[in-house]
Structures are given as structure tokens and as C-alpha cells.
């Protein structure tokens, strides 16, 4: 006798639930393994892994309106400070945004850059695979495969990407940039790959300016500065409603 569709569905549901139980067991084992692995920093020459997830926490209470140290720090580090004199199309890896509550009048300032989403829309729409998320959560453009279609710029809710319209020269050896490709914040991936835990240029510039409004660290490491700060105080994502699980978080608004 053949099983009725109801029997089949009941059977598959039981199998599914058994699978969930097994997965939960594996999950707790996996988290122990992850904790053990976190203790070792990645050596230079070793591939990035998902043991780490890099992120930033911006404290808007410390971010001064009118200060653009982070923007200048980034521009100098990656060589986009000069611009072309045509602001509408100039590169903008990071920008300062002044926000004001129209009803209550409360105003604050924040830096806005690629939010390094866990579920990045720019990666979803890229037709060539050039827009990608690295194992350690950094969202990048592989300019070797970027065809300059700019779908990712349309898809990004943060307007975090720019397109290079003109020939460039005097690029930095660690930050190649060229005409016809899209670019955005790399979280200073060249510094991260050194393996010494050097913070991105914007964080360094903010600290140098005396504000210390940006904390950089490993979101997967429960003992890192950024994780302890996120565990102890309220923070949010910009456009949290989109459910993108951003690597850049904001506190103080």
C-alpha cells in the first residue's frame, strides 16, 4: 500500500526535527571549536577565515560635527584626496553626515561608509561576482572582474560606493584604483592582512584628532573591545529594518 501524502509529510517532518537536534548538538561543539581558534591571530600568508568578523562601532556622542578627520585619513591612506574638482563624481569612500531630528531639534554627526553587511545587496546584484564578501566579513570589489556596470551602487542602501570616471596615476601600491571600476571602503584590508591588528585609517585619524569615536575590532571575539562595548551598551544599525546585519554599528542615537 502506498503511503498517503499526509504520512509522507509527517515522516519528513520527523526527519527534519531529528536533523535539527543533531545540528544543535553540532552547533554547540562548533562554538567551542570557534572559541579555541579565536585565540590564534591569522599569520601573514594565511588565508582569511570566518573565525573573525571585522567591524566598527561608531559612538555618535563622541563624533564632532564639523570634524572630518576620518574622511581625510581615509582619503590620504587610499589616495583619493586629490579628487578631480568635480564633486558630483569624485570618489567618496567615507563621508560625514549631519542628522537633525526635525521635531525635537536634536542634532548629531556620524561617519558613513560601507557598512560591511553580512547579507550585502551589492553582492546579490553583481553580474560578474566582482562584488564579494570575504570570509572575515569584509565586503570588497575585485576590480579585476568589475565591469563598471554600477548595479552595486544602485543596490547599496547607504550610497557607500563610487565609480572612477577618469584615468588615475600615483595610486598607492596597497590600494589599487582605476578608471571604469567601482570602489568603496575596504575596512583597510591591507592593514588587517598584516596580522598585527592595526586599525583602519579612519579610526586612527579619529583617535589622533582626540575624539576616539570609532572602535575597530573582531565581532566574533567576545573579549574584543568592540564586542564588550556592543554587549554593554545600546547600539543600532542604520536601516536595521533591512536586516542586513551590518558590520558597522552606531551607538548614541
Amino acid at each position: 500500500m502506498m503511503a498517503s501524502p499526509a504520512d509522507l509529510s509527517d515522516h519528513s517532518r520527523r526527519r527534519f526535527l531529528a536533523g535539527v537536534g543533531a545540528a544543535a548538538g553540532l552547533g554547540s561543539l562548533a562554538s567551542t571549536v570557534t572559541l579555541l581558534r579565536l585565540a590564534e591571530a591569522r599569520a601573514p600568508g594565511e588565508a582569511a577565515t570566518s573565525a573573525e568578523r571585522w567591524g566598527l562601532l561608531v559612538d555618535t556622542a563622541k563624533c564632532a560635527s564639523g570634524c572630518d578627520a576620518c574622511v581625510r585619513g581615509c582619503a590620504n591612506e587610499h589616495g583619493w584626496a586629490a579628487g578631480t574638482g568635480r564633486a558630483a563624481t569624485d570618489a567618496q569612500w567615507i563621508r560625514k553626515v549631519d542628522v537633525r531630528d526635525a521635531v525635537r531639534g536634536r542634532a548629531f554627526s556620524l561617519p558613513l561608509m560601507c557598512q560591511h553587511c553580512d547579507d550585502p545587496p551589492c553582492v546579490d546584484v553583481c553580474p560578474t561576482g566582482a562584488s564579494f564578501k570575504r570570509a572575515d566579513g569584509i565586503v570588497l570589489v575585485d576590480k579585476h572582474t568589475c565591469i563598471g556596470c554600477r548595479y552595486c551602487m544602485m543596490a547599496c542602501p547607504y550610497k557607500a560606493r563610487s565609480f572612477i570616471h577618469e584615468d588615475l596615476s600615483n595610486q598607492k601600491s596597497y590600494s589599487p584604483r582605476g578608471k571604469g571600476t567601482v570602489e568603496s571602503c575596504t575596512l583597510c584590508v591591507h592593514r588587517i592582512d598584516e596580522g598585527a591588528g592595526r586599525a583602519p585609517a579612519c579610526v586612527e585619524a579619529c583617535d589622533d584628532a582626540g575624539h576616539g569615536a570609532i572602535v575597530f575590532g573582531d565581532l566574533n571575539d567576545p573579549d574584543s573591545g568592540i564586542s564588550t562595548a556592543l554587549a554593554s551598551r545600546e547600539s543600532s544599525e542604520i536601516r536595521a529594518d533591512l536586516g542586513l546585519d551590518t558590520g558597522v554599528r552606531y551607538a548614541g542615537f
Binding site: 601573514p44 582569511a48 570575504r134 575585485d142 579585476h144 600615483n170 595610486q171 598607492k172 601600491s173 592582512d193
Partner: protein, 120 residues
């Protein structure tokens, strides 16, 4: 300039001693390089450098492995020449290491649309 002598020997052996044409046709003059020794033997790097760079770029961009054996930054820092004042001449400038050979064989290289042509 430790590499000048072996390169000169090699060029003479290949009949590439001068920039002018000879009985064998137009000849290529490759500028001298600062490094002592290339990361691979000369015949290997001549044939395979594009494959080494292609492999290396995937490792660097997607996996974050930097400064490895076949990095383009390494090529530039070793092969760049300097003018009388000590300023680095872009490696893709006319007659410089990368440009001279690619122009000779009629291959357009687009590395330097994005990559730095002089060491930092």
C-alpha cells in the same frame, strides 16, 4: 646592479644585445634591474609571469594573502629604474622594464590602469 652582468650575458646569448635591428630583425633591449635574483629562473618567469600574477591576485584579493612570492608590488620594486635625481621612473613608461617588452611583442597590459607604477 648585481643583475646587470647575468642579464647582459643572457641577452648576448639570445642575440638581444642591442636595441637596434640586426641580421635577425628588430631586437629588444631590456633595462637592467636592481634586484639580485628574480623569484623564478628567467626562462620560467618570462613564459609564466602572467599565470603567476593571475594566481597571486586571486589569493590576495579574495583570501588576503599579501606580499607573497609572486606579488606585482614585488615586480615593480625590483624592476623600477631611477632617474639622475633618484626619482623612480614609472615601470610602464616608454622603454621601462614592463613597457619595453610588452610593446615589443604587441601585448597591451592593463595592470597599471589601477596598480602603482612606482614603489611607495
Amino acid at each position: 646592479m648585481g643583475k646587470s652582468a647575468p642579464i647582459a650575458v643572457l641577452l648576448v646569448a639570445l642575440g638581444c644585445g642591442s636595441g637596434a635591428a640586426n641580421a635577425l630583425g628588430p631586437q629588444l633591449e631590456i633595462p637592467a634591474s636592481a634586484g639580485e635574483q628574480c623569484v623564478e629562473p628567467t626562462p620560467v618567469i618570462r613564459r609564466e609571469h602572467m599565470r603567476f600574477l593571475l594566481h597571486q591576485r586571486e589569493r590576495t584579493v579574495h583570501e588576503g594573502v599579501r606580499g607573497a612570492r609572486h606579488s606585482l608590488v614585488g615586480c615593480v620594486s625590483c624592476h623600477v629604474n631611477r632617474d639622475a635625481s633618484g626619482t623612480a621612473i614609472p615601470i610602464d613608461a616608454r622603454g621601462q622594464f614592463c613597457e619595453a617588452c610588452h610593446a615589443f611583442v604587441g601585448v597591451r597590459m592593463d595592470c597599471f590602469g589601477c596598480h602603482a607604477t612606482t614603489p611607495d
